[in-house]
């Protein structure tokens, strides 16, 4: 987006390699000044406001809506219901690919969860539309909703997560348990959680004939465009989506959900541009959530503290009308060596919106249970939790037997433990106090997240003036994509970062793949890198074949690109600038494309994961049970670090989410109605500043030649894994009370 004036603080720029430098985010100044335009900040001439009316029952039918009352309200222009909604080109219930999830677009009067859209009121002002929605006074025929992990018949889903097998087995678990000197059999519960990105889901949309112009935050520009195209029967090139900034997504803005589709339908119905923004409480339903889980872990260990078996079973829920199963038990596949591992899942259907990907889906829920169980086993074996983990260190991936492409977890353990002062930990719980008499507890957890890659394409060019341009529709959700990708682009083109124009954030650019699975930097980064390399190759070709160039004939020895010049590899005194090469060739610019994708051969051969170790200190009031995290150290090994500054922030964010997971976060669902009773940021607790201690993040650099050309693993999600368990284990160590239901509540600590 060339209209974005992204700046680089020059003090942070070192010439030469751009990757690896702690650049401050280039969009920071815009954000601080309030000039970064988020979707809902757009106002179009003649635009109307659309407000969703949401269901207050979780299951049944809408029997009546007082449309007349809403329409009588001054300012209300139209009410869109299942009776008058524009027809879609295909039934939204049809799953055209595995990344399509069913959505509510007023197909009929059925209600499948609380907070489901049941009508849209379109008015000249937000206030009028809001009041119009209230005046609809829906009546329902309600059926008893199914709520919670015991709501109905238990079944085994065909797959969990995205196509993962429901059952995984290696070795003989029963034999392993039978031979064990110590056994742990413990059941843990995690609650439903909601993404709660700071920016609510929003769309500003205008039709122009059969063309659509859309401002909407999305973590997947091209996937969203494809879904809109099929729903509305449009050609892809007729749809333009702008998403320069997201105020957080965490997975909830990855795939097209119902609300933005309703915005597009509303604009079609009234023939005017429309803005539709979800209210905070409306984000608890139609845009996904993390499903609750109940996980049973059975571990066996021999007399030396060596694991003999890990069995991890996870129960979860999906909606009544679609399938997404939190792959929680899969967390036990990679971390701890064991001759026998079995992971299994089952589920019940409940009347909620379909659960979806939420930051570290499966890994986060599974990790807190696994890390708690490992902690319980270490204690049962009379071992220090770190010593126990080292004893069971996995040299190869336990479930598959594959070697790791790289794994610096040992270094993470060592460096983290040293920084934290772990060696001073007392083995027994409830044995440490501070000078104010508060109980002190130290806990740890191991972090892990797979190094994934999707598919992406980028275009790069070098222009006559020697500057570069790179185009790719990447997504900046606040993680710093504008900055990290510009750094990769600059290195790919052999230019300094402020000599490269980086165009991103809209759907007319090459597909960057989805910003999810902690794979965005690796995938889009590889595409950018390859596009840059291809441009340099073309440029080199021009120069080395041109006898007027000092590089003439260097084709065989090769050239290197640096600081806007090509040099002979064998004689760096001979070089020529990009602009000279282009000027002589009479070219305005030279361009090329590059792609990024996983390497199937490497995946076949290696297990690819990022790792980390998190150490936490909590203090607990011995009588009042209130808990506060007072110190955390996280050490992570995640391949090559593109920008240490941004990576640190991602890891901080993940660790804070770990605190939240262990101590705060829970959607409280009324067991009778299926309504969420704390659907607001006042009562849906996440940590506030006073809950967040000074966090210490260290990274251990890994040189991984197998994951991708740049050696990048992701850092977006790993921070939450390990951290939640570390906090939970610290609470146990402080109090001697093992709480297996999360978040840990005060009443459980009132001993």
């Amino acid at each position: 987006m060339s209209e974005l004036n992204l700046t680089t603080a020059p003090a942070h720029v070192r010439h030469g390699s751009n990757i690896g430098q702690p650049l401050t985010r280039r969009d920071g100044v815009l954000k601080v000044k309030g000039q970064a335009t988020y979707a809902a900040d757009n106002h179009l001439p003649g635009m109307l406001f659309a407000v969703i009316a949401a269901s207050s029952i979780a299951r049944g039918h809408v029997t009546s809506l007082d449309v007349a009352a809403a329409k009588r309200h001054p300012g209300v222009v139209e009410v869109m219901t299942s009776a008058n909604r524009p027809k879609l080109a295909i039934d939204p219930e049809i799953k055209t690919n595995p990344f399509v999830f069913r959505m509510e677009s007023l197909q009929n009067d059925e209600v499948r969860y609380a907070n489901q859209p049941i009508a849209v009121v379109i008015a000249q002002s937000l206030e009028a539309a809001t009041e119009g929605a209230a005046l609809l006074a829906p009546r329902y025929e309600a059926l008893p909703p199914r709520v919670g992990l015991d709501a109905g018949e238990v079944f085994v889903p065909p797959v969990v997560g995205v196509g993962n097998p429901t059952v995984n087995e290696h070795g003989d678990v029963e034999a392993g348990l039978a031979s064990a000197a110590k056994q742990i059999d413990a059941t843990y519960e995690t609650p439903p959680q909601y993404h709660n990105a700071m920016e609510p889901h929003a769309i500003v949309v205008a039709w122009d004939g059969d063309k659509l112009s859309i401002d909407m935050p999305t973590q997947g520009l091209i996937l969203s465009r494809a879904r809109i195209a099929e729903l509305f029967g449009l050609a892809h090139e007729n749809i333009h989506i702008r998403s320069p900034f997201l105020g957080g997504g965490f997975g909830s803005k990855g795939l097209m959900g119902g609300p933005p589709v309703l915005g597009i339908m509303a604009a079609k119905l009234v023939g005017k541009p429309v803005k539709l923004v979800l209210r905070r409480e409306q984000m608890y339903g139609p845009v996904g959530h993390r499903a609750p889980t109940r996980q049973r872990l059975r571990l066996g260990a021999d007399g030396e503290g060596q694991l003999t078996a890990i069995e991890h079973h996870a129960r979860t829920v999906s909606s009544s009308y679609d399938d997404f199963y939190e792959p929680a038990a899969d967390a036990s596949h990679t971390l701890y060596a064991s001759p026998a591992i079995r992971t299994t899942h089952d589920a019940v259907r409940v009347d909620t919106g379909t659960p979806l990907f939420m930051r570290a889906p499966g890994e986060a829920t599974g990790s807190i249970a696994l890390e708690s169980a490992i902690d319980e086993m270490a204690f049962a074996c009379g071992m220090d939790p770190l010593a126990f983990r080292l004893k069971n260190y996995a040299e190869v991936e336990p479930i598959s037997g594959k070697p790791f492409s790289s794994k610096a977890l040992r270094a993470c353990y060592e460096q983290g433990a040293t920084r934290f002062g772990w060696s001073k930990r007392k083995l027994a719980p409830r044995g440490m106090r501070d000078d104010a008499g508060l109980l002190v507890g130290w806990g740890m957890g191991t972090a892990t997240f797979p190094a994934l890659m999707f598919q992406a394409e980028a275009r790069a060019a070098i222009r006559r003036d020697g500057s570069g341009v790179v185009e790719i529709g990447t997504h900046d959700m606040g993680q710093g994509a504008w900055t990290a990708f510009a750094q990769i682009a600059a290195d790919g083109l052999g230019l300094d970062v402020d000599r490269v124009e980086f165009r991103s954030g809209h759907s007319n650019l090459p597909d960057a793949g989805i910003a999810g699975g902690s794979a965005h930097t690796a995938t889009a980064g590889a595409a950018i890198h390859n596009a840059g390399a291809a441009v340099i190759a073309k440029l080199a070709d021009l120069a080395t074949k041109d006898e007027r160039s000092p590089l003439f004939g260097a084709g065989n020895t090769g050239v290197i690109a640096r600081d806007g010049k090509l040099f002979r590899r064998d004689d760096e005194s001979r070089g020529e600038s990009y602009s000279d090469i282009l000027a002589r060739a009479g070219l305005a610019e030279i361009e090329a494309r590059g792609t990024g994708a996983a390497n199937p051969a490497a995946m076949e051969e290696y297990a690819m994961h990022a790792h980390g170790a998190v150490f936490a200190e909590v203090k607990v009031d011995p009588e009042l049970g209130q808990v506060r995290v007072t110190r955390m150290v996280g050490t992570f090994a995640a391949g090559r670090i593109v920008n240490p500054h941004l990576v640190k922030s991602q890891l901080f964010g993940g660790m804070i989410w770990g605190v939240s997971f262990a101590l705060h976060e829970e959607a409280i669902t009324d067991r009778r109605t299926g309504r969420i009773m704390n659907a607001n940021l006042g009562e849906y607790h996440i940590p506030v500043n006073a809950d967040v201690p000074s966090l210490d993040v260290l990274t251990v650099e890994e040189h991984d030649p197998h994951v991708n050309a740049l050696g990048i693993k992701g850092v977006g999600e790993i921070g939450i894994t390990g951290s939640a368990g570390a906090v939970a284990n610290a609470v146990w160590h402080a109090t001697g009370v093992r709480v297996r239901r999360f978040p840990i509540r005060i009443e459980e600590l009132l001993v």
Binding site: T130, A134, L438, H664, M677, P687, A690, L750
Partner: protein
């Protein structure tokens, strides 16, 4: 939002006249009322904005040793009034433990007293709620109620009053000055909030049109200044309502408690003054045994209204702790984490 009339009276008399008409509500900072209106919980026909009324934003020491706090004084301004905080440290601590800095900067004294319950079923218009709609039922009774009342509740309503500020105020015998249709009158704060009984829809003893103009703390209130604390257990370190809280104030003479004041928050539909506990403390030595006894008495009538039995034990413990802290003496400065069990952690980093 529902359309409503907005009036901005220039005098107290005009305000009272305007608000006496049915369907009216006073608007102070609106941090509670506007949320309720956006959620469709309150649907007034007219808002009477009192924020421009003259003379109600002062903290005035009176000749008899009492202090008069105007109803429009902002929570933050009162807490940071150095003279006030020194004389009534538990009140300042309670104020600073409430809500967030932004909310405290806006919220007024009158609004804080009359803020509505945080019962989630009261906020959820699809639920039955006797307080919101008289006679409709109470969905909290068999619902998600682990934070609901353990004292003074009825089958009709188990909600709590959420204010922190009111807890030390009621302990210190605060008096509310009210301007109504028939002129000025006074009411002890202890009588302002009502227990639900069979009329949970009535939160307070106020009549339509009644305007709180000031809160007064009598001269006796400052005699506790050296031994007064507020303590609040919450589910995160800041920006959360109390699970339970307690204000404790002691006058200690010659090693004995000459007079004790004790009130609990988060346990009932009103700030809960624990008179019998105060009686037993009078003349006792300030030690663990007498504090334990006081705690037992303070919660003597408590019973769970749902999944909240733990609050009774927690309330006993917080009483003991608050009394212990009060006996130890008011700290020279309000702690960086006011009213928090972590307030006394030495060397801790507070953000």
């Amino acid at each position: 939002m529902k359309q409503f009339e907005y009036v901005r009276p220039a005098s107290i008399a005009e305000a009272v006249a305007a608000a006496a008409q049915p369907g009216s509500a006073y608007l102070a900072a609106g941090t509670n009322l506007l949320d309720l209106m956006k959620g469709g919980v309150s649907r007034p026909d007219r808002l009477v904005d009192v924020t421009r009324l003259p003379g109600l934003d002062r903290v005035e020491p009176l000749a008899d040793g009492s202090v008069r706090i105007g109803a429009l004084v902002r929570n933050a301004n009162l807490a940071h009034d150095a003279r006030f905080a020194k004389a009534y440290p538990a009140v300042a601590e309670a104020l600073l433990s409430g809500a967030s800095a932004q909310l405290r900067n806006a919220a007024t004294v009158g609004g804080n007293l009359l803020q509505r319950t945080r019962c989630a079923y009261f906020y959820d218009t699809a639920s039955r709620c006797n307080k919101r709609e008289a006679g409709s039922g109470c969905d909290a009774r068999d619902g998600e109620n682990r934070l609901h009342a353990v004292l003074g509740w009825s089958e009709g309503c188990i909600a709590t009053h959420p204010s922190d500020f009111c807890v030390p105020l009621v302990a210190l015998d605060a008096i509310v000055e009210i301007e109504g249709k028939s002129g000025r009158r006074e009411l002890p704060l202890a009588e302002l909030h009502r227990l639900p009984g069979d009329a949970p829809e009535r939160d307070s003893a106020l009549q339509p049109g009644d305007l709180i103009v000031a809160v007064r703390l009598p001269a006796s209130a400052r005699t506790f200044a050296t031994h007064a604390r507020y303590l609040k257990v919450r589910e995160r370190t800041s920006y959360a309502f109390a699970v339970v809280s307690a204000a404790a104030a002691l006058r200690i003479e010659n090693g004995r408690i000459a007079e004790a004041r004790l009130a609990l928050g988060g346990v009932a539909a009103k700030p809960w003054r624990a008179d019998t506990a105060e009686q037993v403390l009078k003349g006792a030595t300030p030690d663990a045994a007498s504090f334990q006894q006081a705690a037992q008495l303070a919660l003597a009538g408590a019973k769970p209204s749902g999944d909240n039995a733990f609050k009774i034990e927690l309330a006993r413990r917080i009483v003991v702790r608050a009394l212990t802290l009060a006996a130890a003496g008011t700290p020279a400065r309000v702690p960086a984490l006011p009213a928090s069990p972590f307030a006394s952690v030495s060397g801790a980093l507070h953000v």
